[in-house]
């Protein structure tokens, strides 16, 4: 860089750090608050920011355990948070792997196999991808309402339906993985073809092992996207025991039953694992992000 005078540089450094620290205090304020609320007595915030009589009541309830207060009254957990978490993780994992499988195979075909009308299909996928599923909720509701008459497994209030609809969100991931496959030298598949490999074998033994890094990026992005989905899950899932975390959490801050403290503990409990996964993966995610992925 250009040489700068030491005094100016020092002032600039102080300004930069000062700005960063002030900004971080502002930004991280909600996190500190939520933690403080989760160990505060009661479900309304009255009084101090730093709790006077810290209690683990909300945390016990978040883990689904009854809490016995000092005066002997027993408090029961208001909602099955752990069950919701399990539902979310289960659906996220299954749909994540499903999307990964479909996207990787399709991306390979789009990148390497000669198919009639391929480029038109790719352009079509890109355009369709811009239409969020959220907008077609009315139709989705009607479709699963009708399919439920054939078999309840594919009907409303079923996890299978939710996974199936999530699988349709593969378009963006096909594009991401295809971009990666396009950058692989075509000499590799020619060599495989000379050795007598079918396209499927080329995919299975050459491209799949090479794609592991991009596949993990796609998987994490897809997984987080599904965990965060609210609109589709809220339309399809009705009963409390089938809810995902995103749908269930909303029940806490109902106007008529406002459980601020219980919500804070449940939010930390459920948000922490996803946050940690994301922070670990974020270095690898950045490349995927610049290909146009937007996290929900």
């Amino acid at each position: 860089m250009i040489v700068e005078r030491p005094r100016d540089l020092l002032i600039k450094k102080i300004l930069a750090h000062g700005f960063m620290i002030l900004f971080l205090i502002l930004i991280l304020f909600p996190f500190l608050m939520v933690f403080s609320i989760s160990i505060r007595e009661g479900n309304f915030s009255v009084g101090s920011i730093i709790p006077k009589n810290p209690t683990l009541e909300h945390w016990w309830l978040a883990f689904g355990l009854d809490y016995v207060r000092a005066d002997g009254t027993i408090v029961e957990p208001p909602y099955p948070v752990l069950l919701w978490m399990w539902n979310s993780i289960k659906i996220g994992l299954i749909s994540g792997f499903g999307v990964l499988a479909i996207a990787t195979i399709s991306a390979y075909a789009f990148s390497r196999i000669r198919i009639k009308g391929k480029s038109a299909m790719l352009d079509g996928l890109f355009l369709i991808q811009m239409f969020p599923t959220t907008l077609a909720l009315v139709a989705i509701y009607a479709i699963f309402d009708a399919l439920g008459e054939v078999t309840p497994i594919m009907g409303l209030n079923s996890h299978v339906s939710l996974v199936v609809i999530y699988l349709a969100g593969v378009t963006l991931h096909i594009w991401t993985i295809k971009g990666y496959f396009d950058s692989i030298d075509t000499a590799l598949d020619k060599a495989a073809a000379i050795d007598g490999a079918t396209p499927w074998q080329t995919f299975r033994h050459i491209f799949l092992p090479l794609a592991v890094p991009i596949m993990s990026v796609v998987f994490v992005l897809a997984f987080i996207g599904f965990i965060n989905d609210y609109p589709i899950a809220s339309v399809l899932i009705r009963s409390e025991d089938k809810m995902t975390l995103a749908v269930g959490s909303r029940l806490y801050l109902n106007e008529f039953k406002y459980l601020w403290g219980d919500f804070a503990a449940a939010a930390i409990l459920s948000g922490l694992p996803i946050t940690v996964v994301f922070l670990i993966a974020q270095k690898y995610l950045v490349s995927g992000l610049s290909d146009g992925a937007v996290k929900g």
Binding site: I2, K12, A16, M20, L24, I27, L28, P30, F31, M33, I37, F44, I49, I102, I105, S106, A109, F110, I113, R114, I115, L127, I128, F131, T133, T134, L135, A136, L137, V138, A142, I143, E149, V150, L167, V170, A193, G196, A197, T198, P199, I224, Y230, P231, R250, Y252, L253, W260, F263, A267, S270, G271, I274, T275, Q282, V286, G292, V294, K295, G296
Partner: protein, 508 residues
């Protein structure tokens, strides 16, 4: 060459594969037939097309390549493209909670309704007969066959003498549930039902079908089916609910554009949606870029720590942080107002004042969205050559000038598709609005639910799934309008992506 390599493999494995293909196709066919039977021909046809496509592509060897993309394309067509088209179709119908069923089902519902003829009321008594009971009608001297009085049942009556073991009234009342579900058939074929605690009476169907599009009411009034509105109407033109789903052409669109109570909130929602999406992009981009520039400054220490802490809002699941903000901004118990009151003595009502609510939505969305822009900007900033900046600095340009004349012009083009995508994302950011404000506060004086913070997506969601109305048709029509905007955006993005790709390949 490839086909030579294929043949032995294909020959070896074709029989189990064909069996599998047949099995799956048959299952899909059965499902589609069933859908057709329950009068869902459209869904049936789609399942039929799916099974045909599956059988052809996995059955015939010449479509080997297409097998790889069939699952993806099928999923996208069935669960994205079809719902989009179907939503648009619903926009041309009167599908709502008032017109929910098909015509046949509506007729079934109406003809299955019945009421009790008060003039035929007669007292009854219950007699015990071993484990079961008999109903005794003293006025007509009829006695029923034995009945268990558990669940719905139907038994015949026949003339008989008064039974011996008649239960006292109190015990008979205890059997109420079973009695109410009981149908008795008189010897002349009439049906009588429980009409009250003490009586049974003849039941007459309210409506009987007297013609293809005609129902006759028990009092002789004739109802005709009006297939343009989806209701049966009587001679006075009064509609008899429930109605059925019919195609009403452009009526929903006429309503949107002509009804004052709909058009006004629509315009307001529409403008706010654009304002919200553009401001969100601008704010997050400006903040993210500023932070990225500071983080790129070579003299700054603790970069890694700052970076992780700055990404935190992005790492936490969105639905959790949005709900946290909903609590923090709460007017009475929210921590933000607690602090504002302590510092400035003010207590803004973030949720009931329109402008404050909109400000809050933008604050929260900026908080949620800036890390994404920051991460992207950090990547793009690295690709700006250091020499250009140095050259400009040597020429005497200040840091700000270097940034605006050298750095910014170089990162905007690759950023453009992502900014458009971010616009499209925020344009339909249903989750934020829904979890934070639910669109509230409501705009006063509207005939449909519409709020000050409602964006088009949340507005349609509320029309379709909130409240009692369930106006799917109207929601579908508005969705078509959103689709037009989204299509324009996605085309713009498509062009921007193409240009970016061309520029990249031009450089290489």
């Amino acid at each position: 060459m490839a086909s030579i390599a294929n043949t032995p493999l294909a020959a070896r494995s074709s029989i189990p594969r064909l069996l599998m293909v047949t099995l799956v196709s048959v299952c899909l066919l059965a499902g589609s037939f069933y859908l057709y039977q329950i009068s869902q021909p459209v869904f049936g046809a789609i399942l039929l097309a799916l099974s045909a496509g599956f059988a052809i592509i996995f059955g015939a060897n010449r479509f080997y390549g297409a097998r790889f993309i069939f699952p993806g394309i099928a999923a996208v067509l069935v669960f994205i493209a079809f719902p989009v088209i179907y939503t648009i179709y619903i926009g041309f119908t009167n599908y709502s909670s008032f017109n929910l069923l098909t015509y046949e089902r509506t007729v079934e519902v109406l003809t299955s309704r019945s009421s009790i003829d008060k003039t035929t009321e007669q007292p009854f008594a219950v007699a015990r007969d071993g484990e079961s009971y008999r109903i005794w009608l003293p006025e007509s001297g009829l006695l029923s066959a034995p009945v268990s009085l558990i669940g719905a049942d139907s038994v015949a009556l026949s003339p008989a003498a008064k039974p011996t073991d008649v239960l006292p009234r109190r015990d008979a009342i205890k059997l109420r549930a079973g009695l109410q579900a009981l149908k008795l058939t008189t010897p002349d074929g009439g049906i009588i039902e429980n009409a009250g605690l003490r009586t049974f009476a003849t039941v007459v169907p309210d409506y009987t079908r007297t013609g293809p599009d005609e129902l006759t009411k028990s009092d002789g009034a004739v109802l005709t089916a009006d297939h343009s509105t989806g209701f049966f109407i009587d001679q006075n033109g009064e509609q008899v609910p429930p109605g059925w789903r019919v195609n009403i052409g452009l009526d929903n669109f006429t309503r949107i554009f002509q009804s004052e109570g709909i058009r006004q909130p629509m315009v307001s929602v529409f403008l706010w949606t654009f304002f919200f999406a553009i401001s969100s992009v601008v704010l997050t981009f400006a903040l993210g870029l500023t932070l990225a520039v500071i983080l790129q400054w070579p003299h700054l220490r603790f970069k890694a720590v700052y970076r992780v802490l700055l990404i935190l809002p992005y790492a936490v699941p969105g639905f959790i942080s949005i709900l946290v903000f909903r609590g923090l901004f709460n007017q009475n118990f929210g921590e933000i107002n607690l602090i504002l009151e302590a510092l400035f003595g003010i207590r803004p009502n973030w949720f009931s004042d329109g402008n404050l609510a909109r400000t809050m939505v933008l604050i929260v969305n900026t908080w949620l969205g800036y890390p994404y822009m920051m991460l992207l900007a950090m990547g793009f900033l690295q690709s700006v050559p250091e020499d250009h900046k140095k050259a400009a600095a040597l020429e005497g340009a200040g840091a700000l000038r270097v940034f605006f004349t050298i750095t910014l012009p170089q990162i905007i083009p690759p950023f453009l598709p992502l900014l458009i995508a971010s616009f499209a994302f925020n344009f339909n950011n249903l989750v934020l609005i829904f979890l934070l404000t639910r669109g509230l506060p409501d705009i006063p004086g509207t005939i449909i639910p519409a709020g000050e913070t409602d964006i088009l997506a949340s507005f349609t969601y509320r029309l379709a799934f909130d409240n009692a109305g369930q106006q799917f048709g109207l929601a579908g029509a508005i969705t078509l309008l959103i689709f037009l905007v989204v299509a324009a955006i996605s085309y713009a993005n498509f062009v921007a992506m193409r240009r970016a790709a061309l520029r990249r390949s031009g450089k290489a």
